[in-house]
C-alpha cells in the first residue's frame, strides 16, 4: 500500500509539471528568431561553449561529501536502537564516529576545507 502511495506522489508531481507545460504550449504564443535562441549574457554574444572547466574547489567538496554522506547514512539504523542499548550503543558507535572525526580532522589538516 505504501509503495502505491509513493507512486501516487511521484505521478502527481509529474502530472503537475506536464499539465502546466501542455497548457503553456496550447495558449502561449510561438515565435522564433536567431537572437532569441542565444543564451542571455547581458546583451553580449556568448564566446565559445559555456561548459567550461570549473574551479577544482567544487569537486573537492563533492568528494568530501561523498565520503561523509555514506558514513552518516550508516548512522541512521544505529540511531533507532540507541534507547534500547543505552551505554552499549555509545561504545559500539564510538569507533565509527572516531574514524569519521579523524577523516574530518585529516581533511582539515590537509587544507581540503580551504576554498581554492
Amino acid at each position: 500500500m505504501y509503495f502505491i502511495l509513493l507512486l501516487t506522489v511521484l505521478v502527481t508531481a509529474i502530472v503537475l509539471v506536464a499539465a502546466a507545460y501542455v497548457i503553456a504550449k496550447l495558449i502561449g504564443p510561438r515565435s522564433y528568431n536567431k537572437v532569441k535562441g542565444e543564451p542571455f549574457e547581458c546583451g553580449i554574444p556568448t564566446r565559445g561553449s559555456s561548459w567550461l572547466p570549473m574551479s577544482v574547489g567544487y569537486y573537492l567538496f563533492a568528494i568530501l561529501f561523498l565520503m561523509f554522506d555514506v558514513e552518516t547514512v550508516f548512522l541512521y539504523p544505529w540511531a533507532v536502537v540507541v534507547k534500547e542499548f543505552g551505554a552499549m550503543a555509545l561504545l559500539s558507535i564510538g569507533f565509527f564516529l572516531l574514524v569519521l572525526v579523524f577523516g574530518l580532522a585529516y581533511a582539515w589538516r590537509k587544507g581540503a576545507l580551504e576554498w581554492k
Partner: protein
C-alpha cells in the same frame, strides 16, 4: 485529539462495502483523491507563502508591497500565475534539450515528495513509512540533481556557475541536516513520522524540551542548514541576482521558471514543517502536566497546531532572509564544514550520552 484516520477508514469502507467496489477500483479512487489533495494543498500553500513573502519583505523594508490587484493585493499571485501560464516555453539553441526539460520535473518531484511527508493531523500523514525521515532526506536530495541539471543544461555561463554553486552548497548542508535529524532520531527511537510525533506527547514532550540542550542546538543548526538547503536567505548564492542574473533558471521562461519559484517556497515550508515535526512536536499540542490546561490545549485541532508552528518558523526564515546580506561561497563552505558539521557531530555524541544516562525529560 481528533483522529483523521477515522475519516480515511470510513471512506475506505464506504467504497469497498457500501458501494461494493473491487480492490483495484477503490484503491484507484483513493489514490486520485490523495493526488488531488496534494495538488490542492501544494497550490494553496504556494499562494499563501508567496504572498506572505512579498508582504513580510515589504514591511521589513518599510514598503507596502503589492496593493493594486484586489484588496491589499491578495490576487497578485493569481495574476502572476495566469501571466506565467501564457508565456511561451522556448529553448536556447545550444542548450541540452533533454536536461533542460527534465530539470523542473526533478525539482518538483523532490518538492512534492518531501511535502507529502508532512503530518497535518493525527492520522493525516500521506507518506508514513517506517523509514520516514531517512526516505525524506533521500527524496529531498533529488532536488540537487534538478538544480544542477537546470543550470548545466541551459548552456549559459551564469547558469553553469550557479549550478556548481548550488550543487556544492546543497550537498554540503545536507550533511548537518542529516546529522541533526539523526540526533532527533536517537531520542525518539523511531524514524516513522507519526511515531516521532507520538514520542513527543506528555508534559513538556516536544523534543526541544525533552532533549533540552542538544535538541535546541540541533534545532538551530537544522534551521540554518535547512535555509541553505532551500537556497534561501543569506545562502541564496545559486541565484544571486546581482552577480548571476537569475542563476540556474536564467534561461527558463514561463512555467519552467514558475516551477523553480514554486519549489523554492514549498521547500522553505517543508524545512519549517520538518523542523516542526521533529523538534516542535508536529500536530502535538503543548502539554504542561496540569489537567485543565492540557485538555484545553487538546480542544485546538492538530492541523491548527501544525500550521501555526510551521508558519511561525516560516516567518523566522523570512526574517533571517531579509535581515542578512548574502555570504560568499568560501564563507558558506567554511560555515558548514568548519563550524556546523563538527558542532552537529559533537552534538550527536552529547545527545547519545544524555539518552544513555537517561537525563532527558521522560
Amino acid at each position: 485529539m481528533f483522529d483523521f484516520s477515522i475519516v480515511t477508514t470510513w471512506f475506505d469502507s464506504l467504497l469497498r462495502e457500501t458501494l461494493g467496489l473491487g480492490d483495484f477500483l477503490s484503491i484507484l479512487i483513493e489514490c486520485v483523491l490523495v493526488g488531488v489533495f496534494i495538488l490542492a494543498a501544494y497550490a494553496m500553500l504556494a499562494i499563501v507563502l508567496i504572498f506572505m513573502e512579498r508582504k513580510v519583505c515589504a514591511y521589513f523594508q518599510c514598503r507596502l508591497g503589492p496593493m493594486r490587484v484586489g484588496p491589499w493585493g491578495v490576487f497578485q499571485v493569481f495574476a502572476d500565475v495566469l501571466k506565467m501560464l501564457q508565456k511561451e516555453i522556448f529553448f536556447v539553441d545550444k542548450a541540452d534539450k533533454l536536461l533542460y526539460l527534465v530539470a523542473p520535473f526533478l525539482v518538483l518531484i523532490a518538492s512534492v515528495g518531501t511535502f507529502s511527508f508532512m503530518p497535518w493531523n493525527k492520522g493525516a500523514g500521506i507518506l508514513d513509512f517506517n523509514v520516514g525521515i531517512f526516505l525524506l532526506t533521500a527524496i529531498s536530495s533529488i532536488g540537487v540533481v534538478g538544480v544542477f541539471l537546470a543550470g548545466w543544461g541551459s548552456n549559459n555561463k551564469y547558469s553553469v556557475v550557479s549550478a556548481m554553486r548550488g550543487a556544492v552548497q546543497m550537498i554540503s548542508y545536507e550533511m548537518s541536516l542529516c546529522l541533526c535529524l539523526i540526533t532527533a532520531v536517537v531520542l525518539t527511537g523511531t524514524m516513522q513520522i507519526s511515531g516521532i510525533v507520538e514520542a513527543q506527547s506528555g508534559p513538556f514532550g516536544w523534543l526541544v524540551f525533552q532533549g533540552h540542550i542538544p535538541a535546541i542546538i540541533a534545532f538551530i543548526v537544522f534551521l540554518v542548514a535547512g535555509n541553505a538547503e532551500a537556497n534561501r536567505g543569506p545562502f541564496d548564492l545559486p541565484e544571486a541576482e546581482s552577480e548571476l542574473t537569475a542563476g540556474y533558471h536564467t534561461e527558463y521562461s514561463g512555467m519552467g521558471f514558475g516551477f523553480f519559484y514554486l519549489a523554492e517556497y514549498l521547500n522553505m515550508f517543508v524545512i519549517a514543517g520538518v523542523a516542526t515535526t521533529v523538534f516542535l512536536g508536529g500536530w502535538m499540542p503543548i502539554h504542561i502536566g496540569v489537567a485543565g490546561v492540557d485538555s484545553f490545549m487538546d480542544c485546538i485541532p492538530g492541523i491548527v497546531w501544525f500550521l501555526g508552528k510551521a508558519f511561525l518558523l516560516v516567518w523566522v526564515l523570512l526574517w533571517i532572509r531579509w535581515s542578512f546580506p548574502r555570504l560568499r561561497i568560501d564563507q558558506i563552505l567554511k560555515l558548514e564544514w568548519k563550524y556546523l558539521m563538527p558542532l552537529s557531530l559533537i552534538n550527536l555524541v552529547l545527545m547519545t550520552v544524555i539518552v544513555a544516562l537517561g537525563w532527558y525529560i521522560k
